[in-house]
């Protein structure tokens, strides 16, 4: 009896300490949120939200804080990364789960996961050394471009898209596949019409996570995107994302320039929140079905 009480006390103690750990993580999030908004919103109201969201000129030294080129830049580069990364990632996931030999998949998957462990500065450096000169010589322009950033980010989101897609495709019960094949469907028809629809919410979650990684990536993008604060006229033109804007100019920014960089952070925060909410709502709707 006594031993049981002692155990229960110990149990409670562990629960409590875990609670402390959990809340300390959340409090960090809260502090960051409060800090960014507290620093960034005053200047947005001072110069007007419209001038921040739709202004096209970023000249902080002249009190011109238009963030539209960076908002467009972030969305363009992220979209480009998805166009390249999703078909590649989903294709690999389908191959590894449905068509390849089990043993081959067991060898390949760790390598794909290894991709996630490469530091982003290495991706950026490789891009600068090989991809940028290649684009400059083959397609023209400075090479530092939307295209270069999209390709690098497309590769960087591969491990996220592939591993989550693999997990969700594997979670589809084999009885679905057997039923489909029994009805006379080919392997590919089974994948297309039975397995993928069943795994859809998981695959969408993987794409959303990949998108989050692409929009938040900074170092690799700064190195290959060229960072011109202008709405790019073509995919060969340089581009600046919201994250690069903050990282590039933080070092020497003071006064209103600094606040404008926090405002950039606020806008990034809101965009990511919107994307996450849309993602959660769509995947929740999928699950209901």
């Amino acid at each position: 009896m006594k031993a049981k009480v002692k155990l229960e006390r110990k149990d409670r103690l562990i629960k409590l300490s875990l609670l402390v750990v959990a809340f300390s993580a959340i409090s960090v999030l809260a502090i960051i949120t409060i800090f960014i908004f507290e620093q960034g919103t005053p200047i947005m109201f001072k110069y007007g939200l419209k001038s921040f969201l739709f202004g096209q000129d970023w000249y902080p030294s002249e009190k011109s804080f238009g963030l539209l080129p960076m908002i467009v830049g972030s969305l363009l580069v992220t979209f480009g990364a998805l166009i390249l990364g999703v078909p590649l990632g989903l294709g690999s996931a389908i191959f590894l789960t449905e068509f390849s030999h089990r043993r081959l998949a067991r060898v390949l998957k760790p390598f794909i996961e290894l991709l996630a462990g490469i530091p982003s500065v290495v991706y950026g450096f490789m891009g600068l050394m090989f991809l940028v000169p290649f684009i400059r010589e083959r397609f023209g322009g400075p090479g530092l471009s939307v295209l270069a950033a999209s390709i690098i980010l497309g590769i960087m989101i591969l491990p996220t898209v592939i591993s989550i897609s693999i997990d969700s495709i594997r979670a589809v019960p084999d009885s679905y596949r057997e039923g489909s094949i029994a009805l006379g469907a080919t392997r590919w028809q089974t994948v297309r019409m039975v397995v993928l629809p069943a795994a859809r919410s998981g695959i969408i979650a993987g794409i959303i996570l990949g998108m989050g990684r692409a929009i938040g990536e900074t170092m690799a993008v700064i190195m290959v995107a060229g960072n011109a604060a202008d709405i790019p006229g073509s995919i060969l033109a340089p581009v600046r994302t919201l994250t690069s804007n903050i990282a590039l100019e933080m070092a020497y920014a003071s006064g209103e320039h600094r606040q404008a960089l926090f405002a950039t952070g606020v806008i990034l925060f809101v965009i990511i929140m919107i994307l996450n909410t849309v993602a959660n709502v769509t995947s929740a709707r999928q699950r209901k079905r």
């Binding site: 629960k15 409590l16 700064i222 060229g226 011109a228 100019e249």
Partner: protein
């Protein structure tokens, strides 16, 4: 799917015991408070006493002043030299109000700022650089300006080749960009289409790889991978700068209220000493001792 169930289960356990509902907000508040005190400690600067010297101003001078202060503090233990940034104008303001003992400026003083006592401690040149394969050797300052404004967009007028110019600049707020803006651009804006990099090194790296590019970097950082252009026919050599023939030069000034005394004078004398001045060239700056002599 699986993880969602797990979450619900964990939540259920916590809700079952009502005590935790009281504990949680308390811990949350405590942690927030703790982190806030932690942050405010970080942002606190050491207070000033008789043995400390506050230097503030130009962010271009700051990294050099940091080094000088380090050497100075090693030689005179117990002294504290606190170097802060903020920009030339902020430095001038700081000396005026007494917030700093020495102000740093990387531009000449304006007429209404001449009431301060100024000591030139070094000079910094700005080089306009292109790819070594570029046949252009010299431009006028007006031509450089037109290129960076975005009026001239191809090399055609200079080389006959219809190749688009890649303009490479530093980011807003950097001292090098500030100097270029002031010495070349005047009131005109640098084109939005310019590629932006956040260090002299990366500007040089990009110009050394792109045959159609043009950029500007601190003179001390020019090496064989890029070609510095002559401006109005004058190459940026130390000699041309000393004779004031090369125009893209800015002074690094120390400013005090009245003739410097005490620790401020000691530090300025130290920076002007042979020991520091002979090190300037290594850091890419030009010594003022030779300017005078």
């Amino acid at each position: 799917m699986k993880s969602f169930n797990d979450n619900n289960r964990a939540g259920g356990v916590i809700k079952n015991s009502s005590r935790f509902r009281f504990v949680a907000p308390f811990i949350f508040g405590l942690l927030t408070l703790l982190s806030l005190t932690f942050f405010s400690f970080i942002s606190c600067r050491p207070g000033r006493s008789g043995h400390s010297l506050v230097i503030a101003g130009s962010t271009s001078v700051q990294p050099f002043a940091d080094k000088w202060a380090e050497v100075f503090m090693e030689k005179r233990p117990g002294m504290i030299v606190d170097v802060q940034g903020g920009g030339s104008s902020a430095g001038i303001q700081a000396v005026r109000t007494g917030a700093a003992h020495i102000g740093m400026s990387s531009r000449e003083l304006k007429e209404d700022e001449k009431d301060l006592y100024e000591i030139e401690v070094a000079r910094d040149g700005l080089a306009i650089i292109v790819h070594p394969s570029n046949p252009v050797n010299s431009l006028t300052i007006e031509q450089v300006k037109s290129i960076f404004v975005g009026e001239i967009t191809t090399w055609e007028t200079f080389t006959g080749q219809k190749k688009a110019i890649t303009v490479v600049v530093r980011e807003e707020g950097s001292g090098t960009r500030g100097a270029f803006q002031e010495l070349v651009m005047g009131k005109s804006r640098i084109t939005k289409k310019a590629i932006v990099q956040d260090s002299n090194g990366t500007v040089r790296e990009i110009v050394s790889r792109d045959p159609n590019s043009i950029g500007f970097i601190s003179l001390g950082l020019v090496n064989e991978t890029v070609k510095p252009l002559a401006l109005n026919g004058v190459l940026p050599t130390e000699e041309a700068i000393l004779k004031k023939e090369y125009r893209l030069v800015r002074p690094f000034l120390f400013l005090t209220r009245g003739v410097p005394t005490g620790l401020a004078k000691e530090f300025i004398d130290f920076v002007l000493s042979e020991e520091i001045q002979s090190l300037l060239a290594k850091e890419g700056l030009i010594a003022v001792k030779k300017v005078a002599g």
